[in-house]
Symmetry: C2
Subunit: 330 residues, 2 copies
Amino acid sequence: MVTIKDVAKRAGVSTSTVSRALSGNIPVSEETKKKVMKAVKELNYQPNVLAKGLKLGRSKTLGLLIPNVRDLVFPAAIRGIEDTANKYGYTVVLCNTDEDIEREKIYINSLRRRLIDGFIISTARPGHKHLLELNNEGFPMVFLIRRIKGNFDAVTADNFQGAYDATKYLLSRGLKNIALVNGSLDILLYRERFKGYKKALEEANIPLNNDIVIHNVYGWEDGYKAMATLLEQKLKVDAVFATSDPKAIGVIRAIKDYGLSVPDDISVMGFDDLDVVGLLDPPLTTVSQPFYNMGVAACEMLIRIIEAKRRPKPMIKTLPCKLNIRSSVR
Amino acid sequence: MVTIKDVAKRAGVSTSTVSRALSGNIPVSEETKKKVMKAVKELNYQPNVLAKGLKLGRSKTLGLLIPNVRDLVFPAAIRGIEDTANKYGYTVVLCNTDEDIEREKIYINSLRRRLIDGFIISTARPGHKHLLELNNEGFPMVFLIRRIKGNFDAVTADNFQGAYDATKYLLSRGLKNIALVNGSLDILLYRERFKGYKKALEEANIPLNNDIVIHNVYGWEDGYKAMATLLEQKLKVDAVFATSDPKAIGVIRAIKDYGLSVPDDISVMGFDDLDVVGLLDPPLTTVSQPFYNMGVAACEMLIRIIEAKRRPKPMIKTLPCKLNIRSSVR
DNA sequence: CTGAAAGCGCTTACAG
DNA sequence: CTGAAAGCGCTTACAG
C-alpha cells in the first residue's frame, strides 16, 4: 500500500505538506500543490481512512439501526441512506435489532469502539432511555420513519395527513362504514394515523364507531385475524383502512377467504406503498410513503450535524405522503 | 474515552501487559491477568477498533457487493451475513452497484482504503476482470448466489437440482407442455436452471420445444411480456416454469389478463421463494432457495479465509433447494 | 512473564 | 508557506 511518505518522497516535500495539500485546510503554494498532486496521481495514492480516523477521532462511518432488513419497509430507505452516505464519503453499517433493546444497546456500544460518527435510528419504541442518554451526550443521531416524542432530530412521513387523506378518499367514494385496522398506539406514528382517520370522519360528521376500530395489529397474520373477527361479528363494514400494507394484505386475504370480493364488497386502503404491493390481486390502493427520500433526508441531516462546528437546533422534517390509487378501493 | 493507558495505570502494569492479557496470544501470569481484567471492568474499557486495525492492517470489516438492496432476493441473505459477521466481531458495509461495473470498481477501491478484510460478492456477471485481479492478489473474497466459472470460493444454491426437481414435479402433475421463462444465459445460474429443465424433460422423453423457451427475461415486466407473447401465439402451454419469482409474478398477471386462470388453465412454477410470494393470489408454488443460510455460509467461509494463516483451497459450497408447494400448480 | 520502545499512517501545533 | 516533531491508541519484537 502506498502511504503519505511515498508521496512526500516522490514530490520532494515533507509529509506535512502532502497532508496539507490534500486537505486544503491549510494554505500551500500552488507550485508545491501541483507537485504533490502529480505524485499522488503517479502513485495512485489512497489515504488510509483508519489512520485518519484514529488521528481525528472520527471514522466517516454511520450506524443504521433498524428492526430487520427483511421488513419490506426498509430496503428503499436503506438505499436512500447508502446513496447519500456514499456521496459524502461516508460508509454505513447496518444493524438489525429485532426490536430487542438489549441487542440495540450492544450494537451501539460496539459501534462506538469503531468511533462511529453518528446514528440513524428506525427502532424508536417504549424503553429508549439509552437513546436519550446518547442524545444528551451530544452524540449525533437522527430518527427515521419512527421517532420519539420530544425535540429530537427526525425525518418522518406526514402520518397524520396521509391517514387523513386516505380516509377522506374512502369517504369521497361513498364509503361510510370504514373500519380501522391499526398498529400499536405505543408507537407514535400509529397514534398519528389514528388521529388523521378520526379527523376525516369528524369532518364528515360520521361518529367514531369503536366496534370497527382495532389496534395492536402487527403484520399480515394479525391483519388477517383482525378482519376475520370483524367479519365473524357481521358488523357493517364497507371499507377497511389498514394502516400498513402488510396489514392490508392480511385483510384482503381474509375478505377473500370469507367469499367476498375486494373492492366490490369491501374496499381496502393500505399505508406504505411497498415495492410489491402493485403486484397483488387486486393491486392495492395505498398511502405512499417516500421511503427513499426519507432515507436521503435523514442521512443528509445526520451528516450536517456531524460536520457542524456547533450542534444545530433539533429539527423534525416531515415529508408528505401521497395517495397511490390502484384497484382495491371501489 | 478510556484507553489502554488508563487501564494500565489502574492495574499498575504496562500497556504492553494489558494488551497481552486482553489478546491472550502471549502468556501473562494469572495474577496480573486478574488485575487487568478488574481494571477493564471498573473502567468499562472498550478497545479502539481503528487503532487496532491500523496497527494490524486489518479492520474487522467486510464489504458486501450486491446489485440493489431493493431486490427482494437480497434482504434474507443480508440478514444471514449480518448475523454471522456480528457473531465473529465483524461489521459489514453494504454497497449497491446497480449492475454497474464502474460503480463496483469505485466501491472496491474506496473500501480498500478502509483496510476492508474481505468481500462477499453477489454481482458476478460478464466483465469481472477486476474481480479476478482482486482474487489474484490473494484478497479474501467469496461469491454468493451468483458466481463466475472457475475455481473460486462461492456459496450458491443448487440451481441445476432445483430446476430439475421443479420440472419433474410439473411433469408428475400430468403437465406436459411446459414453457420456460428464463433469465440471461450470460449468468451462470440461469444456464444451470436451463440444464435442470432440459434434463427432466429428457428423462421423461419429452423433446425440447424451443418455441416455448424464452431467455433473457428480467423481472416481472419482462415476465409479463414473455407470457403475453406465448399467449398471443396460441402455443399449447399447460404450465410455465419461470426461473425467478418476479418473472413468475409477471407470468401470472399476463395469464389472468388474458382471461385464463392459474392453475386451472395454466400452472405456474417459480424459483426463489421470496418472502412475499405466499401472499400472492394464488400463492406461488416455487423452488425455495435458502437465502438466509447461504448468507451465513458465505460469511463464515469468508471469515475463515481471512483468519487462516494460509489461504485455504477454493471451495464451492452448494446448498440444496427445496420445492415449496402452494397453489399455483394444479 | 514483563516493560520500554518503535511503529502502523495520518494531522496539526510549534517554530521558523 | 514549510518541516520536524509529537501524538491518536493500539501491538509486538527486543531485552531482560
